[in-house]
């Protein structure tokens, strides 16, 4: 509550002084537990801002909405640490100018909400470095444990079953702040690399491609996983990719605005034990 009030006041200050043209935050959704994105441009809207432990969606994707930042005015946004990492990646990939982004950082533990110190993405570098130092917790998820225990054929059968439900609504893509391409590879048809149809093969291919394009870029915000209307556990795939780049290349996505994209850079002595 205190954080929410503090931030509401700060949003109003910034709006009043014309320091931001809009603040992207959360408001009450259609059920008690749901929060929906809110675009604050007035004091009345600022009063609708809600900040609590149910504010889980990563809002960073809205920043790359066509034309939003082209007037070079500033935009405020409520972000968790993962969201701040997304800003760093978007900046590193030249999708936005981080100076235009005023961050209302917050994190939650249990139902508790705490504000994060800082307003510009770079203010949070200490925090993100400390997150990187903390080895990513081994997920205690029973399902993931089961997947890891499977042999290759069983894993294939597992994912085949999961992907057979996919309807290719592309909610995973649209919800992801990193999927900003104007024309996604599945929308390009010359050549048509993967099948657009939503049969299991096409779904399998789509999910491989999606995960690969997010390798080293995914911050684990969980937007895709929550957006999936058929409940495919996409989080596991992304997390495995993040783990792979962390272990192989010491890469933790979104540490800074100048971080080189992991798959667009290399190290001469990268591991190559698998190469014959």
């Amino acid at each position: 509550m205190i954080t929410q009030e503090k931030y509401r006041t700060r949003v109003k200050e910034l709006l009043a002084s014309n320091s931001v043209k809009m603040v992207i935050g959360y408001k009450q959704g259609s059920t008690a537990d749901r929060r929906r994105p809110l675009f604050v441009r007035s004091f009345e809207e600022a009063d609708e801002l809600v900040l609590d432990s149910n504010c889980i969606g990563n809002l960073a994707g809205y920043l790359v909405t066509e034309g939003l930042l082209s007037d070079e005015k500033r935009v405020g946004i409520f972000l968790r640490p993962e969201g701040i990492r997304s800003i760093n990646i978007l900046a590193a990939e030249s999708q936005l100018n981080p100076e235009q982004i005023i961050i209302f950082g917050f994190d939650t533990s249990g139902r508790e909400v705490k504000a994060l110190q800082g307003e510009q993405a770079e203010d949070f570098s200490g925090l993100i470095d400390s997150l990187k130092e903390k080895p990513p917790e081994k997920s205690s998820d029973a399902l993931l444990y089961r997947i890891d225990q499977m042999n290759t054929e069983e894993r294939f059968a597992f994912w085949k079953d999961e992907f057979s439900r996919c309807i290719k609504c592309y909610a995973c893509r649209q919800a992801c702040p990193m999927c900003y391409c104007r024309r996604c590879i599945v929308d390009s048809n010359q050549p048509q690399w993967i099948n657009t149809s939503s049969h299991t093969l096409g779904n399998f291919e789509w999910n491989i491609v999606r995960a690969f394009h997010l390798a080293g870029r995914c911050v684990g915000c969980g937007n895709c996983d929550r957006a999936c209307p058929v409940n495919i556990p996409l989080r596991f795939i992304n997390a495995r990719m993040a783990q792979e780049v962390f272990e192989s290349f010491d890469h933790y996505a979104g540490t800074s605005q100048t971080q080189e994209p992991v798959l667009a850079s290399f190290n001469k002595d990268d591991s190559e034990t698998f190469i014959l």
């Binding site: 259609s30 994105p37 939503s198 957006a227």
Partner: protein, 337 residues
């Protein structure tokens, strides 16, 4: 006195229907998802959930369907059509909103050119709906001149008994009657009281909304941009919708052989209407959301005399950013016409 199908006879019914060559479908729930699927035993049914995550559309208009196979030879092209399946089916336990959705799409697929994929499946299917005794915050049938016990689109309507031990049978069509002849002797006469149907409060006044939508001046209202600002442009509302019916046709294969398929498509996608020249009639997400709402409540009823929405609420229930038809129409109903 009414005719009653007691739940303990359901396994028998299923066996009879199966013996008569019908495939039995119904709401099924797994760890991950609920949908309408083929079942073998009464215990496979899920009558507990408010409604399945996936709509009944899946059984009539699959997300991807092969239309024809082509084989290219030196100076000739061979093609072979894929016919829609022609097995007889009974869909037991459809929700009235899903059944109404089928009736809505009948008008489109039966208009002018007859869509054989849809029509054949419809002709081979008996829809046995169960009136809802449960609803959630997202249900909105009552706002659309429908109700938890609407019979539109159903061949048989079942009303749950208060003691939860069975259903009162109401045969609505010849097709429904015929399917229930096979189990006639398993039905019993009785006068057990019917459970009250679910309370679905009216969420907006539809006539007010329609009047607003029909006013040409509102087409370019600022409202559209405001309401759709957080829309991320995924197609999940359209894909889970029982009445959304847009599709794409795609060839998969190479220059020797392959398959032409009919796939779901969505008006939410930017590329849906994009011309090759780069011109896009609906270039912004707000224009696309406006199209969806207009199509459902203005254009479609203008042509087919029925709203293209049966009030299942799936669009709002699963929207990643908590949008949906309910919110939009609720807001519209408060606007000046």
């Amino acid at each position: 006195m009414t005719r009653i199908l007691f739940s303990d006879k359901l396994d028998n019914c299923i066996a009879r229907w199966r013996a008569a060559g019908l495939t039995v479908f119904g709401p099924v729930k797994t760890d991950t998802l609920s949908s309408y699927a083929a079942i073998e035993h009464a215990s496979d049914f899920d009558f507990e959930s408010v409604l399945p995550d996936r709509s009944i559309k899946d059984l009539f208009f699959p997300q991807t369907e092969p239309m024809l196979r082509y084989t290219i030879k030196k100076r000739a092209i061979d093609t072979e059509d894929f016919a829609p399946p022609n097995d007889k089916r009974i869909i037991f336990g459809a929700r009235p909103c899903d059944a109404s959705g089928l009736a809505i799409d009948d008008s489109l697929f039966g208009w002018d050119y007859k869509d054989e994929y849809w029509i054949q499946r419809r002709n081979e299917s008996v829809i046995v709906s169960i009136a809802c005794t449960k609803a959630d915050d997202f249900c909105l049938c009552s706002s659309l001149n429908l109700a938890p016990d609407s019979s539109t689109g159903s061949d048989v309507l079942l009303r749950p008994l208060e003691n939860n031990k069975g259903w009162v049978v109401e045969e609505l069509t010849d097709r429904g009657h015929e399917a229930f002849l096979a189990i006639a002797e398993l039905l019993q006469d009785g006068s057990d009281p019917i459970a009250p149907i679910a309370a679905v409060p009216e969420k907006f006044d539809l006539d007010t909304c329609v009047a607003w939508l029909q006013n040409h001046d509102n087409f370019e209202s600022k409202f559209w941009k405001e309401i759709s600002m957080r829309c991320i442009g995924c197609g999940s509302c359209t894909y889970l919708c029982p009445t959304c019916h847009c599709f794409d046709i795609q060839d998969e294969g190479d220059t020797y052989s392959g398959i032409r398929r009919k796939n779901w498509d969505s008006c939410s996608f930017a590329l849906f209407t994009m011309h090759t020249s780069g011109h896009n009639p609906r270039a912004t997400q707000s224009a696309r959301w406006r199209q969806r709402i207009m199509h459902k409540f203005n254009y479609f009823p203008g042509k087919f005399n029925v709203n293209s929405c049966s009030g299942c609420g799936r669009c709002s229930r699963q929207c990643p950013v908590d949008m949906g038809i309910t919110e939009t129409l609720q807001k519209i109903s408060t606007l000046q016409p």
